[in-house]
Symmetry: C2
Subunit: 113 residues, 2 copies
Amino acid sequence: MDQPCRSACPIACTLDLVGDRWTLIVVRDMMFFGKERFEEFLASPEEISTNILTSRLRQLEAAGLVERKLYSTRPRRTSYHLTETGKSLRPVLKTIAVWGLRHLEQTRTPEQF
Amino acid sequence: MDQPCRSACPIACTLDLVGDRWTLIVVRDMMFFGKERFEEFLASPEEISTNILTSRLRQLEAAGLVERKLYSTRPRRTSYHLTETGKSLRPVLKTIAVWGLRHLEQTRTPEQF
DNA sequence: CGGGATCCGTCTTGATACTG
DNA sequence: CAGTATCAAGACGGATCCCG
């Protein structure tokens, strides 16, 4: 998540960007749940903490996947939106979700969902 | 990477399993490069360290994505193979690789690859 | 020599409290 | 509401050691 790229492998480079426990959760919230504001991301069931959320939003912004907009100065209100590059992650999220559903079907009972 | 599941979301659950800097690198090495042995994983350009590799292989084994086989006792030789569940991650890896290639095309010059 | 385990120092993550 | 400050806990990396 820090250096641009560990290696020339596109998988490794992608993981450098989004390969951690939280980044794709935030992207998911924007992409599938239409969340835009700091408070909304905090409200997700995974319970990201404020400093981690801040750092992930900054990284996503730096990587050009997310744009920040101040839409009110007093009170200060910020909103976050996926850029076109950010939106292009949709197939990745979708594939992960599909895999998760399949895999979890086998290891957990349906009532847990 | 620790608890079974942070939430009922299949994306979050998948990330709990493989959402870190190293796990999918190891899976990639098995899936696309046919690597099987501890030493081979260490030789990848991303340079995973021995303790991290050990812990990731254990986690993958515990999750049922990888099987360990001792194919020689003296000298002791261990090999690691993807189970069917592990192999089912192929579309995930592939989608990530495709996204990486596209995204990196725009942000880096071709000579870097 | 292959396949780790262990120790240690550093960097990162995350929970909580606090601020503009 | 949208963060920042602080600090403990854990992840990571390197080196070394161990064991068959």
